[in-house]
Amino acid sequence: MTGRVAAVAAFDADPAEWPRVLAGTGPQREAALAQLHALLLRIARGEVARRGPRLQLTGPELDDLAYQATADALIAITSKLAQFRGESRFTTWAYKFVIFEVSAKIGRHFWRHPSVPLDAEGWERLPDTFGFDPVQEAEWRDLLAALRRAVDEKLTARQRRVFVAIVLNKVPLDALVIEMAANRNAIYQTLFDARRKLRAALAADGYIGDDGWRRS
């Protein structure tokens, strides 16, 4: 067993040990911080590597992102120690913060090379977005026209903005969070409510029922 693994095992033998030492002072705290930093960095590197193929990021940029996420996660963890209630291992709780930081930083990165302007409305991409076959356009043309009408007439301005960004323009939700100075829950809930309204509108127009689509 290496020294680092042995130390983690010792901390995990007592779930209260990590927060107790991290809340303290002196060399013991410094050692725990260094150890936690190393653990978080390993997880951050693994996470950016896992997500890397989907991102326009190269090796050094990915590593830089992992370091930034680790540093910010460490700050978040040490400032929220009182919130750790021992419902999981301390490290699992801590890893959650570094995963969230990786997500947030990837969202921020999107705006360095946005694929579309935020005010664009790519309605022509809608059939492709959902995978409708162009050969069968006669079957879905009216449905998507009704969907567009519902977006225009039934959604609030904020719901419409979120729908256009995420569905039409493929802006990642975490990137839209930054653009709209919101949080993930608020954007998700806005889209959730929009989805419910759109389904209700299509149902009212006779396109969909409880048992599925009513195709002519």
């Binding site: 997880i43 998700y188 959730f192």
Partner: protein
């Protein structure tokens, strides 16, 4: 998946869905239980519904689950 089922999936909302805030709050507990093979979908149906519907939270869950597995080995 064709366009009809994809659009249906997008428009279908689950009333159990707890939203991002609650799912993120619970994620470390949920991931650790999932890694241990517990029936998390039965124990926390609202979180499970959310993770199925929310891409970013689902991605965070996958990442945290991978992290828990890394630590176990």
């Amino acid at each position: 998946m064709n366009g009809w089922s994809a659009l249906d999936g997008f428009l279908r909302t689950d009333p159990w869905d707890v939203g991002c805030a609650q799912a993120m709050e619970m994620l470390h507990i949920y991931a650790e239980l999932a890694a241990a093979g517990a029936a998390v979908e039965e124990r926390y149906p609202g979180v499970a519904a959310h993770l199925r519907a929310c891409g970013p939270c689902g991605d965070d869950f996958d990442g945290l689950l991978a992290a828990v597995h890394v630590e176990k080995h």
